[in-house]
Amino acid sequence: MWTRVLSWGWDWFYNYIFPPGMRFWLPLIFGIGYSVIALGMVWLSLTSVGSPAFTWCLLGGVKGLLSHLNAIFGLGAASKPPIMEGSDQFSVLIFAIFEKAF
């Protein structure tokens, strides 16, 4: 999945925010990294009070916010790729919350 996504978007997006040498390692990094995050989310969902499924979705939104904060302000995901020129960074952040919430 990640190989396909990163290959599809490499030339017009990921190429601008990741070093070229990381191209073939990124799918592995993304897959393992998100698995570890999901593991933590499962643990937090089960240890918290209330519906774990609801907590899972809530944590997904938090994850989307944090990952996109890093992508936008750390990697320049909303400014470096030409396709993102002129887009509002705040709107991208809000979009990320709802994108990852479920």
Binding site: V5, Y34, S35, P82, S87, D88
Partner: protein, 143 residues
């Protein structure tokens, strides 16, 4: 833009035409599985969602972001250019505008509320615990 043209743009959007039979298939799957065994509808929903709705989101987001507003038209040179290329080709002169992002955010927010309410209704702590092994795997694939 009139209401009629907006409605046409939504109803005849390739994504809408793609998702309707897909959703029908999902409903059939849920109904069949619920009648065959005692698995809760919510557990099926979550398993289905984490595998397929994430894929659906991916397709939705990409299609919405990059084709929303570019209605097929003979006068649209971008469309003529795309017609000769595979569907995954990304024209280099497209830009994601802020109104487009807000529109997609609104649609996603509505979908999220519906799906979260369904999950909240059907997935209890026990059924979530049964899925704790598969969620990291699915998260690694489709987050």
């Amino acid at each position: 833009m009139t209401i009629r043209s907006l409605a046409d743009m939504i109803l005849y959007h390739p994504f809408i035409r793609w998702i309707i039979p897909h959703l029908e298939h999902q409903v059939d799957y849920l109904r069949d599985n619920k009648s065959r065994n005692s698995t809760s509808l919510g557990a099926i929903l979550l398993q289905q969602d984490f595998f397929q709705l994430q894929l659906f989101y991916f397709r939705f987001v990409t299609e919405s972001l990059f084709s929303f507003g570019d209605r097929p038209s003979i006068k649209n040179p971008c469309y003529k250019h795309e017609a000769t290329l595979p569907s995954y080709y990304m024209p280099l002169d497209v830009h994601i505008t802020t109104p487009l992002i807000w529109t997609c955010t609104g649609i996603l927010a509505v979908l999220d509320v519906i799906l979260i309410l369904l999950v909240h209704r059907f997935v209890n702590r026990d059924s979530f615990r049964k899925m704790r092994g598969i969620l990291p795997l699915v998260g690694g694939i489709s987050f």
